[in-house]
Subunit: 328 residues, 2 copies
Protein backbone atom coordinates (compact mmCIF):
# COMPACT_ATOMS: atom_id res chain seq x y z
CA UNK A 1 0.00 0.00 0.00
CA UNK A 2 1.75 3.14 -1.21
CA UNK A 3 1.50 6.41 0.66
CA UNK A 4 -0.98 8.83 -0.96
CA UNK A 5 0.67 10.90 -3.66
CA UNK A 6 -0.09 14.21 -1.95
CA UNK A 7 2.10 13.34 1.05
CA UNK A 8 5.22 15.49 0.89
CA UNK A 9 8.40 13.46 0.44
CA UNK A 10 10.30 13.17 3.71
CA UNK A 11 13.97 12.34 3.54
CA UNK A 12 17.21 13.52 5.09
CA UNK A 13 15.54 15.52 7.81
CA UNK A 14 17.80 17.78 9.82
CA UNK A 15 17.77 20.20 12.75
CA UNK A 16 16.88 22.95 10.30
CA UNK A 17 14.22 21.35 8.12
CA UNK A 18 12.41 18.98 10.48
CA UNK A 19 9.89 21.59 11.65
CA UNK A 20 8.45 22.69 8.28
CA UNK A 21 8.43 19.06 7.16
CA UNK A 22 6.55 17.86 10.24
CA UNK A 23 4.06 20.66 9.74
CA UNK A 24 3.72 19.77 6.05
CA UNK A 25 2.87 16.17 6.77
CA UNK A 26 0.46 17.24 9.54
CA UNK A 27 -1.19 19.65 7.13
CA UNK A 28 -3.00 16.65 5.65
CA UNK A 29 -5.32 17.09 8.65
CA UNK A 30 -8.84 17.98 7.53
CA UNK A 31 -9.71 19.87 10.72
CA UNK A 32 -8.33 23.42 10.44
CA UNK A 33 -8.37 23.98 14.19
CA UNK A 34 -6.47 20.77 14.98
CA UNK A 35 -4.06 21.56 12.15
CA UNK A 36 -3.36 24.98 13.66
CA UNK A 37 -2.96 23.58 17.18
CA UNK A 38 -0.53 20.93 15.93
CA UNK A 39 1.50 23.37 13.89
CA UNK A 40 1.98 25.66 16.90
CA UNK A 41 2.70 22.67 19.17
CA UNK A 42 5.31 21.21 16.83
CA UNK A 43 6.94 24.59 16.27
CA UNK A 44 7.18 25.37 19.99
CA UNK A 45 8.37 21.86 20.82
CA UNK A 46 11.11 21.98 18.21
CA UNK A 47 12.11 25.54 19.10
CA UNK A 48 12.40 24.43 22.72
CA UNK A 49 14.75 21.61 21.70
CA UNK A 50 16.84 23.91 19.51
CA UNK A 51 17.10 26.70 22.10
CA UNK A 52 18.07 24.34 24.89
CA UNK A 53 20.07 21.89 22.74
CA UNK A 54 18.30 19.33 24.90
CA UNK A 55 20.45 16.29 25.56
CA UNK A 56 19.35 12.73 24.89
CA UNK A 57 19.41 12.04 28.64
CA UNK A 58 17.24 15.09 29.40
CA UNK A 59 14.82 14.10 26.64
CA UNK A 60 14.53 10.57 28.00
CA UNK A 61 14.13 11.88 31.57
CA UNK A 62 11.30 14.14 30.37
CA UNK A 63 9.54 11.28 28.55
CA UNK A 64 9.86 9.05 31.62
CA UNK A 65 8.53 11.90 33.78
CA UNK A 66 5.45 12.03 31.54
CA UNK A 67 4.97 8.25 31.76
CA UNK A 68 5.16 8.60 35.55
CA UNK A 69 2.49 11.32 35.53
CA UNK A 70 0.19 9.08 33.49
CA UNK A 71 0.77 6.03 35.60
CA UNK A 72 0.07 7.69 38.96
CA UNK A 73 -3.16 9.13 37.56
CA UNK A 74 -6.41 7.34 38.33
CA UNK A 75 -10.14 7.98 38.52
CA UNK A 76 -9.50 10.18 41.54
CA UNK A 77 -6.10 11.66 40.65
CA UNK A 78 -5.06 13.61 37.57
CA UNK A 79 -1.33 14.31 37.75
CA UNK A 80 -1.40 16.22 34.45
CA UNK A 81 -3.94 18.72 35.82
CA UNK A 82 -1.60 19.14 38.77
CA UNK A 83 1.33 19.64 36.38
CA UNK A 84 -0.67 22.19 34.40
CA UNK A 85 -1.54 23.90 37.71
CA UNK A 86 2.04 24.28 38.95
CA UNK A 87 3.23 25.49 35.55
CA UNK A 88 0.68 28.32 35.57
CA UNK A 89 -1.08 26.86 32.53
CA UNK A 90 -4.38 26.16 34.29
CA UNK A 91 -4.65 29.74 35.51
CA UNK A 92 -3.86 30.96 32.00
CA UNK A 93 -6.42 28.69 30.32
CA UNK A 94 -9.09 29.77 32.80
CA UNK A 95 -8.25 33.44 32.23
CA UNK A 96 -8.46 33.06 28.45
CA UNK A 97 -11.74 31.18 28.53
CA UNK A 98 -13.55 32.98 31.29
CA UNK A 99 -12.82 36.68 31.00
CA UNK A 100 -14.69 38.59 33.68
CA UNK A 101 -16.11 42.09 33.50
CA UNK A 102 -15.02 44.12 36.55
CA UNK A 103 -18.33 43.72 38.38
CA UNK A 104 -18.33 39.90 38.34
CA UNK A 105 -16.67 37.23 40.47
CA UNK A 106 -13.23 36.26 39.21
CA UNK A 107 -12.32 32.66 38.44
CA UNK A 108 -9.65 30.48 40.03
CA UNK A 109 -8.11 27.09 39.26
CA UNK A 110 -10.30 23.98 39.24
CA UNK A 111 -7.58 21.75 40.65
CA UNK A 112 -7.61 17.97 40.38
CA UNK A 113 -10.09 17.21 43.18
CA UNK A 114 -13.49 18.00 41.76
CA UNK A 115 -15.62 14.84 41.49
CA UNK A 116 -18.97 14.11 39.91
CA UNK A 117 -20.45 12.10 42.76
CA UNK A 118 -21.19 14.83 45.31
CA UNK A 119 -24.72 14.64 46.73
CA UNK A 120 -27.20 17.44 46.04
CA UNK A 121 -28.15 18.79 49.46
CA UNK A 122 -30.94 21.15 50.53
CA UNK A 123 -30.02 24.59 51.81
CA UNK A 124 -28.81 24.55 55.38
CA UNK A 125 -27.26 21.08 55.14
CA UNK A 126 -23.95 20.05 56.65
CA UNK A 127 -21.58 18.97 53.86
CA UNK A 128 -18.62 17.93 56.04
CA UNK A 129 -18.32 14.80 58.16
CA UNK A 130 -14.95 15.44 59.80
CA UNK A 131 -15.56 15.78 63.56
CA UNK A 132 -12.17 17.48 63.99
CA UNK A 133 -13.10 20.31 61.61
CA UNK A 134 -14.05 23.72 63.00
CA UNK A 135 -17.68 24.30 61.97
CA UNK A 136 -18.18 27.10 59.43
CA UNK A 137 -21.51 28.54 58.40
CA UNK A 138 -21.53 29.80 54.79
CA UNK A 139 -24.30 32.16 53.71
CA UNK A 140 -24.07 33.16 50.06
CA UNK A 141 -25.96 34.66 47.18
CA UNK A 142 -25.67 34.41 43.41
CA UNK A 143 -26.48 37.52 41.40
CA UNK A 144 -26.05 38.85 37.90
CA UNK A 145 -23.93 41.88 37.08
CA UNK A 146 -26.98 44.11 37.58
CA UNK A 147 -27.43 42.79 41.12
CA UNK A 148 -30.47 40.65 40.38
CA UNK A 149 -30.63 37.24 42.10
CA UNK A 150 -30.10 34.19 39.90
CA UNK A 151 -32.23 31.26 40.97
CA UNK A 152 -31.72 27.59 40.13
CA UNK A 153 -27.94 27.72 39.78
CA UNK A 154 -26.25 24.39 40.46
CA UNK A 155 -23.32 25.01 42.80
CA UNK A 156 -20.60 22.42 43.34
CA UNK A 157 -18.76 23.03 46.62
CA UNK A 158 -15.73 21.09 47.82
CA UNK A 159 -12.99 21.45 50.42
CA UNK A 160 -10.49 19.32 52.34
CA UNK A 161 -11.04 17.82 55.76
CA UNK A 162 -9.25 19.33 58.75
CA UNK A 163 -6.10 17.31 57.93
CA UNK A 164 -5.83 19.02 54.54
CA UNK A 165 -6.94 16.03 52.47
CA UNK A 166 -9.83 15.74 50.05
CA UNK A 167 -12.01 12.67 50.54
CA UNK A 168 -10.59 11.05 47.38
CA UNK A 169 -7.12 11.16 48.90
CA UNK A 170 -8.17 8.66 51.56
CA UNK A 171 -7.78 5.14 50.23
CA UNK A 172 -10.70 3.94 52.35
CA UNK A 173 -13.11 6.51 50.89
CA UNK A 174 -16.53 4.93 50.64
CA UNK A 175 -18.65 7.95 49.89
CA UNK A 176 -18.21 11.66 49.16
CA UNK A 177 -17.44 13.94 52.09
CA UNK A 178 -16.63 17.65 52.42
CA UNK A 179 -18.34 18.11 49.08
CA UNK A 180 -21.87 18.75 47.91
CA UNK A 181 -24.04 20.32 45.25
CA UNK A 182 -26.54 23.02 46.20
CA UNK A 183 -29.09 24.91 44.15
CA UNK A 184 -29.70 28.63 44.64
CA UNK A 185 -33.21 29.45 45.79
CA UNK A 186 -35.69 31.96 44.35
CA UNK A 187 -33.76 34.82 45.88
CA UNK A 188 -30.39 33.54 44.62
CA UNK A 189 -29.41 32.34 48.09
CA UNK A 190 -27.63 29.18 49.19
CA UNK A 191 -26.30 28.32 52.61
CA UNK A 192 -24.60 25.33 54.15
CA UNK A 193 -22.40 24.20 57.02
CA UNK A 194 -18.86 23.19 56.17
CA UNK A 195 -15.62 23.37 58.10
CA UNK A 196 -12.94 26.02 58.31
CA UNK A 197 -10.56 25.49 55.36
CA UNK A 198 -6.90 24.77 56.11
CA UNK A 199 -3.72 25.22 54.09
CA UNK A 200 -2.56 21.95 52.55
CA UNK A 201 0.18 20.58 50.33
CA UNK A 202 -0.88 19.47 46.87
CA UNK A 203 -0.17 15.76 46.34
CA UNK A 204 3.62 15.62 46.33
CA UNK A 205 4.32 11.89 46.38
CA UNK A 206 4.35 11.76 42.59
CA UNK A 207 6.35 13.21 39.69
CA UNK A 208 4.90 16.73 40.13
CA UNK A 209 5.92 16.82 43.81
CA UNK A 210 9.44 15.73 42.88
CA UNK A 211 9.61 18.44 40.24
CA UNK A 212 8.56 21.13 42.74
CA UNK A 213 11.25 19.90 45.10
CA UNK A 214 13.92 20.09 42.39
CA UNK A 215 12.72 23.61 41.59
CA UNK A 216 13.09 24.67 45.22
CA UNK A 217 9.36 25.42 45.39
CA UNK A 218 7.00 24.53 48.22
CA UNK A 219 3.87 22.56 47.44
CA UNK A 220 1.36 24.41 49.63
CA UNK A 221 -1.96 25.99 48.82
CA UNK A 222 -3.52 28.60 51.09
CA UNK A 223 -6.77 27.62 52.84
CA UNK A 224 -9.75 27.87 50.48
CA UNK A 225 -13.19 26.59 49.59
CA UNK A 226 -13.91 25.59 45.98
CA UNK A 227 -17.07 26.64 44.16
CA UNK A 228 -18.32 25.87 40.68
CA UNK A 229 -21.50 27.52 39.37
CA UNK A 230 -23.47 26.12 36.43
CA UNK A 231 -26.74 27.14 34.84
CA UNK A 232 -27.81 27.11 31.21
CA UNK A 233 -27.26 30.49 29.63
CA UNK A 234 -24.66 31.52 32.23
CA UNK A 235 -20.91 31.29 31.99
CA UNK A 236 -19.64 28.39 34.04
CA UNK A 237 -17.80 29.92 36.99
CA UNK A 238 -15.00 27.93 38.60
CA UNK A 239 -13.64 29.81 41.56
CA UNK A 240 -12.55 29.58 45.18
CA UNK A 241 -12.60 31.77 48.27
CA UNK A 242 -9.29 32.18 50.09
CA UNK A 243 -9.00 32.85 53.85
CA UNK A 244 -7.22 36.13 54.54
CA UNK A 245 -3.93 35.91 56.42
CA UNK A 246 -2.95 32.43 55.29
CA UNK A 247 0.86 32.03 55.25
CA UNK A 248 0.64 30.91 51.61
CA UNK A 249 -1.63 33.75 50.52
CA UNK A 250 1.00 35.15 48.15
CA UNK A 251 2.80 31.94 47.24
CA UNK A 252 0.06 29.54 46.19
CA UNK A 253 1.75 26.59 44.46
CA UNK A 254 -0.87 26.71 41.70
CA UNK A 255 -1.22 30.50 41.24
CA UNK A 256 -4.92 30.59 42.10
CA UNK A 257 -5.23 33.50 44.56
CA UNK A 258 -6.80 36.81 43.56
CA UNK A 259 -7.31 39.71 45.92
CA UNK A 260 -11.00 39.85 45.13
CA UNK A 261 -11.34 36.22 46.25
CA UNK A 262 -9.70 36.69 49.66
CA UNK A 263 -12.34 36.74 52.38
CA UNK A 264 -12.56 37.47 56.10
CA UNK A 265 -14.37 35.10 58.40
CA UNK A 266 -16.89 36.57 60.82
CA UNK A 267 -18.57 35.23 63.94
CA UNK A 268 -22.24 34.32 63.88
CA UNK A 269 -24.27 36.62 66.13
CA UNK A 270 -27.27 35.39 68.09
CA UNK A 271 -29.78 36.26 65.36
CA UNK A 272 -27.75 34.55 62.61
CA UNK A 273 -27.15 31.49 64.80
CA UNK A 274 -30.85 31.21 65.41
CA UNK A 275 -31.83 31.80 61.80
CA UNK A 276 -29.45 29.13 60.47
CA UNK A 277 -29.57 26.72 63.39
CA UNK A 278 -25.88 27.31 64.13
CA UNK A 279 -23.75 28.02 67.21
CA UNK A 280 -23.59 31.63 68.38
CA UNK A 281 -19.99 32.83 68.02
CA UNK A 282 -19.24 30.12 65.47
CA UNK A 283 -17.34 30.98 62.25
CA UNK A 284 -19.36 32.67 59.54
CA UNK A 285 -18.52 33.23 55.88
CA UNK A 286 -20.81 35.53 53.93
CA UNK A 287 -20.25 36.05 50.24
CA UNK A 288 -22.07 37.33 47.19
CA UNK A 289 -21.09 35.76 43.90
CA UNK A 290 -21.73 37.53 40.61
CA UNK A 291 -22.22 35.52 37.42
CA UNK A 292 -22.00 36.69 33.84
CA UNK A 293 -24.19 35.38 31.05
CA UNK A 294 -22.75 33.04 28.48
CA UNK A 295 -23.53 35.62 25.83
CA UNK A 296 -21.55 38.42 27.46
CA UNK A 297 -18.66 36.06 28.23
CA UNK A 298 -18.46 34.74 24.66
CA UNK A 299 -18.57 38.30 23.32
CA UNK A 300 -15.81 39.42 25.68
CA UNK A 301 -13.72 36.32 24.93
CA UNK A 302 -14.01 36.84 21.17
CA UNK A 303 -13.08 40.52 21.52
CA UNK A 304 -10.11 39.68 23.72
CA UNK A 305 -8.98 36.95 21.31
CA UNK A 306 -9.15 39.23 18.28
CA UNK A 307 -7.23 41.94 20.11
CA UNK A 308 -4.55 39.59 21.48
CA UNK A 309 -4.00 37.80 18.16
CA UNK A 310 -3.68 41.11 16.33
CA UNK A 311 -1.13 42.23 18.93
CA UNK A 312 0.81 39.03 18.31
CA UNK A 313 0.79 39.86 14.60
CA UNK A 314 -1.23 36.74 13.76
CA UNK A 315 -3.79 36.93 10.95
CA UNK A 316 -6.54 34.74 12.29
CA UNK A 317 -10.27 34.34 12.03
CA UNK A 318 -12.52 32.90 14.71
CA UNK A 319 -14.39 29.74 13.71
CA UNK A 320 -16.76 28.49 16.40
CA UNK A 321 -15.07 31.14 18.58
CA UNK A 322 -11.64 29.52 18.19
CA UNK A 323 -8.79 30.95 16.09
CA UNK A 324 -7.65 29.38 12.84
CA UNK A 325 -5.36 31.00 10.27
CA UNK A 326 -7.15 33.38 7.93
CA UNK A 327 -5.41 31.92 4.92
CA UNK A 328 -5.13 28.19 5.10
Amino acid sequence: MAAPAKVPALLDLTIDNITPNTNRINSQCQNPRLKYLMSRLVTHLHDFARETRISTDEWMAALNFLVGCGQISSDVRHEFILLSDILGLSLLVDSINHPKPPSSTEGSVLGPFHTHDAPTLPNGSTMASDPAGVPLLCVCTVRDTAGRPVAGVKIDIWETDSSGHYDVQHSDREEPSERCVMVSDGEGRFWFKGIQPVSYPIPHDGPVGKLLERLGRHCWRPAHLHFMFAKDGWDNLITALYMRGDPYETSDAVFGVKQSLIVDLDKADAATAKEYDFTEGGLLLKHDFVLTTEEETVKLRDENAAKALAQLGLRMKLVDHLPVPELD
Copy 2:
Protein backbone atom coordinates in the same frame (compact mmCIF):
# COMPACT_ATOMS: atom_id res chain seq x y z
CA MET B 1 5.25 27.52 58.25
CA ALA B 2 5.54 30.72 56.23
CA ALA B 3 6.86 30.74 52.69
CA PRO B 4 10.52 31.81 52.54
CA ALA B 5 10.85 35.59 52.30
CA LYS B 6 12.68 35.49 48.96
CA VAL B 7 9.70 33.94 47.16
CA PRO B 8 8.17 36.57 44.91
CA ALA B 9 4.64 37.52 45.91
CA LEU B 10 2.10 35.93 43.59
CA LEU B 11 -1.33 37.45 43.42
CA ASP B 12 -3.85 38.46 40.78
CA LEU B 13 -2.15 36.58 37.99
CA THR B 14 -3.44 37.27 34.50
CA ILE B 15 -2.96 36.23 30.88
CA ASP B 16 -0.26 38.85 30.61
CA ASN B 17 1.72 38.41 33.82
CA ILE B 18 1.49 34.67 34.53
CA THR B 19 4.59 33.80 32.48
CA PRO B 20 7.15 36.09 34.16
CA ASN B 21 5.68 35.20 37.54
CA THR B 22 5.90 31.45 36.94
CA ASN B 23 9.47 31.91 35.79
CA ARG B 24 10.24 34.03 38.86
CA ILE B 25 9.01 31.40 41.27
CA ASN B 26 10.85 28.69 39.32
CA SER B 27 14.02 30.78 39.49
CA GLN B 28 14.42 29.56 43.07
CA CYS B 29 15.83 26.42 41.43
CA GLN B 30 19.48 25.93 42.33
CA ASN B 31 20.35 24.05 39.16
CA PRO B 32 21.02 26.60 36.38
CA ARG B 33 20.39 24.09 33.61
CA LEU B 34 17.04 22.94 35.00
CA LYS B 35 16.11 26.58 35.61
CA TYR B 36 16.82 27.40 31.96
CA LEU B 37 14.93 24.35 30.67
CA MET B 38 11.92 25.23 32.81
CA SER B 39 11.91 28.87 31.82
CA ARG B 40 11.88 27.99 28.11
CA LEU B 41 9.28 25.26 28.70
CA VAL B 42 6.95 27.58 30.61
CA THR B 43 7.37 30.37 28.06
CA HIS B 44 6.63 28.11 25.09
CA LEU B 45 3.71 26.44 26.86
CA HIS B 46 2.13 29.78 27.75
CA ASP B 47 2.81 31.27 24.31
CA PHE B 48 1.14 28.23 22.77
CA ALA B 49 -1.94 28.82 24.93
CA ARG B 50 -2.02 32.53 24.10
CA GLU B 51 -1.52 32.06 20.34
CA THR B 52 -4.17 29.38 20.09
CA ARG B 53 -6.52 30.79 22.76
CA ILE B 54 -6.82 27.14 23.71
CA SER B 55 -10.28 26.29 25.00
CA THR B 56 -10.94 24.58 28.31
CA ASP B 57 -12.25 21.53 26.43
CA GLU B 58 -9.14 21.34 24.24
CA TRP B 59 -6.91 21.72 27.31
CA MET B 60 -8.72 18.91 29.11
CA ALA B 61 -8.63 16.70 25.99
CA ALA B 62 -4.87 17.25 25.78
CA LEU B 63 -4.34 16.38 29.46
CA ASN B 64 -6.47 13.25 29.07
CA PHE B 65 -4.48 12.33 25.95
CA LEU B 66 -1.30 12.53 28.03
CA VAL B 67 -2.79 10.36 30.78
CA GLY B 68 -3.72 7.84 28.08
CA CYS B 69 -0.14 7.81 26.76
CA GLY B 70 1.18 7.14 30.26
CA GLN B 71 -1.32 4.44 31.02
CA ILE B 72 -0.75 2.40 27.85
CA SER B 73 3.00 2.52 28.48
CA SER B 74 4.67 -0.48 30.12
CA ASP B 75 8.04 -2.16 30.44
CA VAL B 76 7.84 -3.02 26.77
CA ARG B 77 5.95 -0.02 25.38
CA HIS B 78 6.80 3.67 25.64
CA GLU B 79 3.98 5.70 24.10
CA PHE B 80 5.78 8.98 24.79
CA ILE B 81 8.80 7.90 22.72
CA LEU B 82 6.32 7.07 19.97
CA LEU B 83 4.70 10.50 20.39
CA SER B 84 8.11 12.17 20.26
CA ASP B 85 8.87 10.11 17.14
CA ILE B 86 5.76 11.12 15.19
CA LEU B 87 6.19 14.79 16.15
CA GLY B 88 9.70 14.84 14.70
CA LEU B 89 11.20 15.53 18.12
CA SER B 90 13.18 12.29 18.33
CA LEU B 91 14.86 12.93 15.00
CA LEU B 92 15.67 16.47 16.13
CA VAL B 93 17.10 15.38 19.49
CA ASP B 94 19.25 12.76 17.80
CA SER B 95 20.51 15.30 15.25
CA ILE B 96 21.41 17.81 17.97
CA ASN B 97 23.22 15.27 20.10
CA HIS B 98 24.95 13.18 17.49
CA PRO B 99 26.22 15.50 14.78
CA LYS B 100 28.07 13.50 12.16
CA PRO B 101 31.01 14.56 10.06
CA PRO B 102 30.36 13.78 6.37
CA SER B 103 32.48 10.62 6.36
CA SER B 104 30.61 8.88 9.19
CA THR B 105 27.38 6.89 9.39
CA GLU B 106 24.33 9.06 10.04
CA GLY B 107 21.99 8.38 12.94
CA SER B 108 18.31 7.51 12.87
CA VAL B 109 15.54 7.25 15.47
CA LEU B 110 15.84 4.73 18.31
CA GLY B 111 12.12 4.00 18.38
CA PRO B 112 10.36 2.41 21.32
CA PHE B 113 11.37 -1.22 20.74
CA HIS B 114 14.94 -1.49 21.90
CA THR B 115 15.23 -3.79 24.92
CA HIS B 116 18.05 -4.61 27.29
CA ASP B 117 17.60 -8.37 27.34
CA ALA B 118 18.94 -9.33 23.91
CA PRO B 119 21.47 -12.20 24.05
CA THR B 120 25.07 -11.60 23.04
CA LEU B 121 25.70 -13.95 20.13
CA PRO B 122 28.94 -15.00 18.41
CA ASN B 123 29.54 -13.89 14.85
CA GLY B 124 27.63 -15.94 12.32
CA SER B 125 24.70 -16.62 14.62
CA THR B 126 21.08 -16.60 13.62
CA MET B 127 19.23 -13.89 15.58
CA ALA B 128 15.73 -14.53 14.23
CA SER B 129 13.41 -17.41 15.10
CA ASP B 130 10.53 -16.68 12.76
CA PRO B 131 10.28 -19.57 10.29
CA ALA B 132 8.18 -17.43 7.92
CA GLY B 133 10.94 -14.81 7.59
CA VAL B 134 13.08 -14.71 4.44
CA PRO B 135 16.65 -15.45 5.59
CA LEU B 136 19.04 -12.52 5.26
CA LEU B 137 22.79 -12.70 5.70
CA CYS B 138 24.31 -9.48 7.04
CA VAL B 139 28.04 -8.94 6.68
CA CYS B 140 29.23 -5.68 8.20
CA THR B 141 32.26 -3.79 9.38
CA VAL B 142 32.79 -0.99 11.87
CA ARG B 143 35.49 1.54 11.05
CA ASP B 144 36.64 4.96 12.18
CA THR B 145 36.57 8.01 9.94
CA ALA B 146 40.10 7.19 8.74
CA GLY B 147 38.97 3.74 7.60
CA ARG B 148 40.62 1.80 10.42
CA PRO B 149 38.66 -1.14 11.87
CA VAL B 150 37.24 -0.67 15.35
CA ALA B 151 37.31 -3.88 17.38
CA GLY B 152 35.28 -4.72 20.47
CA VAL B 153 32.28 -2.54 19.63
CA LYS B 154 29.05 -3.78 21.22
CA ILE B 155 26.35 -3.77 18.56
CA ASP B 156 22.66 -4.06 19.43
CA ILE B 157 20.64 -5.28 16.47
CA TRP B 158 16.86 -5.59 16.36
CA GLU B 159 14.12 -6.00 13.79
CA THR B 160 10.51 -7.17 13.50
CA ASP B 161 9.42 -10.66 12.58
CA SER B 162 7.93 -11.28 9.14
CA SER B 163 4.51 -10.09 10.35
CA GLY B 164 5.95 -6.65 11.18
CA HIS B 165 5.90 -7.08 14.96
CA TYR B 166 8.76 -6.85 17.41
CA ASP B 167 8.94 -9.71 19.90
CA VAL B 168 7.74 -7.44 22.73
CA GLN B 169 4.52 -6.80 20.81
CA HIS B 170 3.53 -10.45 21.23
CA SER B 171 1.79 -10.91 24.56
CA ASP B 172 3.11 -14.47 24.82
CA ARG B 173 6.75 -13.40 24.46
CA GLU B 174 8.89 -15.61 26.65
CA GLU B 175 12.33 -14.67 25.43
CA PRO B 176 13.97 -12.19 23.06
CA SER B 177 13.73 -12.91 19.36
CA GLU B 178 14.80 -11.02 16.23
CA ARG B 179 17.27 -9.17 18.41
CA CYS B 180 20.83 -9.77 19.57
CA VAL B 181 24.03 -8.13 20.64
CA MET B 182 27.22 -8.77 18.69
CA VAL B 183 30.79 -7.64 19.22
CA SER B 184 33.02 -6.55 16.35
CA ASP B 185 36.07 -8.75 15.88
CA GLY B 186 39.74 -7.73 15.58
CA GLU B 187 39.16 -6.57 12.03
CA GLY B 188 36.03 -4.58 12.92
CA ARG B 189 33.76 -7.21 11.38
CA PHE B 190 30.45 -8.64 12.54
CA TRP B 191 28.07 -10.90 10.68
CA PHE B 192 24.83 -12.60 11.47
CA LYS B 193 21.75 -14.16 9.96
CA GLY B 194 18.49 -12.29 10.35
CA ILE B 195 15.40 -12.03 8.19
CA GLN B 196 14.43 -9.64 5.44
CA PRO B 197 12.89 -6.55 7.09
CA VAL B 198 9.30 -5.65 6.22
CA SER B 199 7.34 -2.39 6.38
CA TYR B 200 5.14 -2.23 9.45
CA PRO B 201 2.71 0.10 11.18
CA ILE B 202 3.89 1.62 14.44
CA PRO B 203 1.60 0.62 17.31
CA HIS B 204 -1.63 2.42 16.49
CA ASP B 205 -4.04 0.98 19.02
CA GLY B 206 -3.21 3.73 21.51
CA PRO B 207 -3.47 7.52 21.78
CA VAL B 208 -0.63 8.13 19.27
CA GLY B 209 -2.34 5.97 16.64
CA LYS B 210 -5.58 7.86 17.15
CA LEU B 211 -3.75 11.17 16.79
CA LEU B 212 -2.16 10.06 13.49
CA GLU B 213 -5.60 9.08 12.24
CA ARG B 214 -7.07 12.47 13.16
CA LEU B 215 -4.15 14.11 11.37
CA GLY B 216 -4.82 12.12 8.21
CA ARG B 217 -1.37 10.51 8.45
CA HIS B 218 -0.54 6.86 7.92
CA CYS B 219 1.31 4.96 10.62
CA TRP B 220 3.79 2.99 8.51
CA ARG B 221 7.54 2.71 8.70
CA PRO B 222 9.58 1.49 5.74
CA ALA B 223 11.38 -1.84 6.17
CA HIS B 224 14.56 -1.45 8.21
CA LEU B 225 17.03 -3.08 10.57
CA HIS B 226 18.00 -1.24 13.78
CA PHE B 227 21.60 -0.96 14.96
CA MET B 228 23.12 0.64 18.04
CA PHE B 229 26.90 0.82 18.43
CA ALA B 230 28.57 1.36 21.81
CA LYS B 231 32.18 1.41 22.88
CA ASP B 232 33.96 3.53 25.47
CA GLY B 233 35.56 6.53 23.84
CA TRP B 234 33.26 6.37 20.79
CA ASP B 235 30.08 8.28 20.18
CA ASN B 236 27.07 6.06 20.70
CA LEU B 237 25.57 5.50 17.24
CA ILE B 238 21.86 4.75 16.99
CA THR B 239 20.95 4.10 13.40
CA ALA B 240 19.03 1.88 11.01
CA LEU B 241 19.39 0.61 7.48
CA TYR B 242 16.40 1.06 5.19
CA MET B 243 15.58 -1.22 2.26
CA ARG B 244 15.53 0.66 -1.04
CA GLY B 245 12.23 0.78 -2.89
CA ASP B 246 9.97 0.46 0.13
CA PRO B 247 6.59 2.17 -0.49
CA TYR B 248 7.11 4.22 2.69
CA GLU B 249 10.69 5.22 1.85
CA THR B 250 9.75 8.91 1.65
CA SER B 251 6.87 8.96 4.13
CA ASP B 252 8.24 7.27 7.24
CA ALA B 253 5.77 8.01 10.09
CA VAL B 254 8.71 8.81 12.39
CA PHE B 255 10.97 10.76 9.97
CA GLY B 256 13.91 8.34 10.28
CA VAL B 257 15.01 7.75 6.69
CA LYS B 258 18.19 9.26 5.29
CA GLN B 259 19.47 8.63 1.78
CA SER B 260 22.82 7.48 3.13
CA LEU B 261 21.03 4.79 5.16
CA ILE B 262 19.07 3.30 2.25
CA VAL B 263 20.63 0.03 1.15
CA ASP B 264 20.29 -2.47 -1.68
CA LEU B 265 20.07 -6.16 -0.93
CA ASP B 266 22.33 -8.48 -2.89
CA LYS B 267 22.30 -12.23 -3.47
CA ALA B 268 24.93 -14.41 -1.85
CA ASP B 269 27.19 -15.98 -4.42
CA ALA B 270 28.63 -19.47 -4.02
CA ALA B 271 31.82 -18.30 -2.31
CA THR B 272 29.94 -16.07 0.16
CA ALA B 273 27.41 -18.80 0.87
CA LYS B 274 30.22 -21.21 1.62
CA GLU B 275 32.20 -18.74 3.72
CA TYR B 276 29.21 -17.85 5.91
CA ASP B 277 27.40 -21.19 5.87
CA PHE B 278 24.44 -19.66 4.04
CA THR B 279 22.27 -20.54 1.05
CA GLU B 280 23.64 -19.63 -2.37
CA GLY B 281 21.32 -17.02 -3.91
CA GLY B 282 19.96 -16.05 -0.50
CA LEU B 283 19.58 -12.38 0.42
CA LEU B 284 22.75 -10.58 1.40
CA LEU B 285 23.21 -7.20 3.09
CA LYS B 286 26.73 -5.82 3.19
CA HIS B 287 27.41 -2.58 5.00
CA ASP B 288 30.31 -0.64 6.43
CA PHE B 289 29.51 1.52 9.43
CA VAL B 290 31.73 4.45 10.36
CA LEU B 291 31.93 5.62 13.98
CA THR B 292 33.19 8.91 15.32
CA THR B 293 35.06 9.28 18.57
CA GLU B 294 33.33 10.78 21.55
CA GLU B 295 35.91 13.56 21.52
CA GLU B 296 35.24 14.63 17.95
CA THR B 297 31.48 14.39 18.47
CA VAL B 298 31.54 16.50 21.63
CA LYS B 299 33.69 19.08 19.89
CA LEU B 300 31.37 19.22 16.88
CA ARG B 301 28.28 19.34 19.11
CA ASP B 302 29.71 22.22 21.17
CA GLU B 303 30.63 24.13 18.01
CA ASN B 304 27.20 23.58 16.50
CA ALA B 305 25.50 24.62 19.75
CA ALA B 306 27.51 27.83 20.03
CA LYS B 307 26.79 28.70 16.40
CA ALA B 308 23.06 27.90 16.61
CA LEU B 309 22.54 29.77 19.89
CA ALA B 310 24.34 32.82 18.54
CA GLN B 311 22.13 32.70 15.43
CA LEU B 312 19.08 32.61 17.71
CA GLY B 313 20.42 35.70 19.44
CA LEU B 314 20.77 33.87 22.77
CA ARG B 315 23.68 34.79 25.03
CA MET B 316 24.58 31.44 26.47
CA LYS B 317 27.58 29.61 27.85
CA LEU B 318 28.09 25.86 27.77
CA VAL B 319 28.36 24.20 31.20
CA ASP B 320 29.05 20.47 30.99
CA HIS B 321 28.42 20.94 27.26
CA LEU B 322 24.85 22.15 27.83
CA PRO B 323 23.68 25.75 27.39
CA VAL B 324 22.76 27.97 30.33
CA PRO B 325 22.27 31.74 30.18
CA GLU B 326 25.53 33.69 30.37
CA LEU B 327 24.07 36.09 32.92
CA ASP B 328 21.95 34.32 35.46
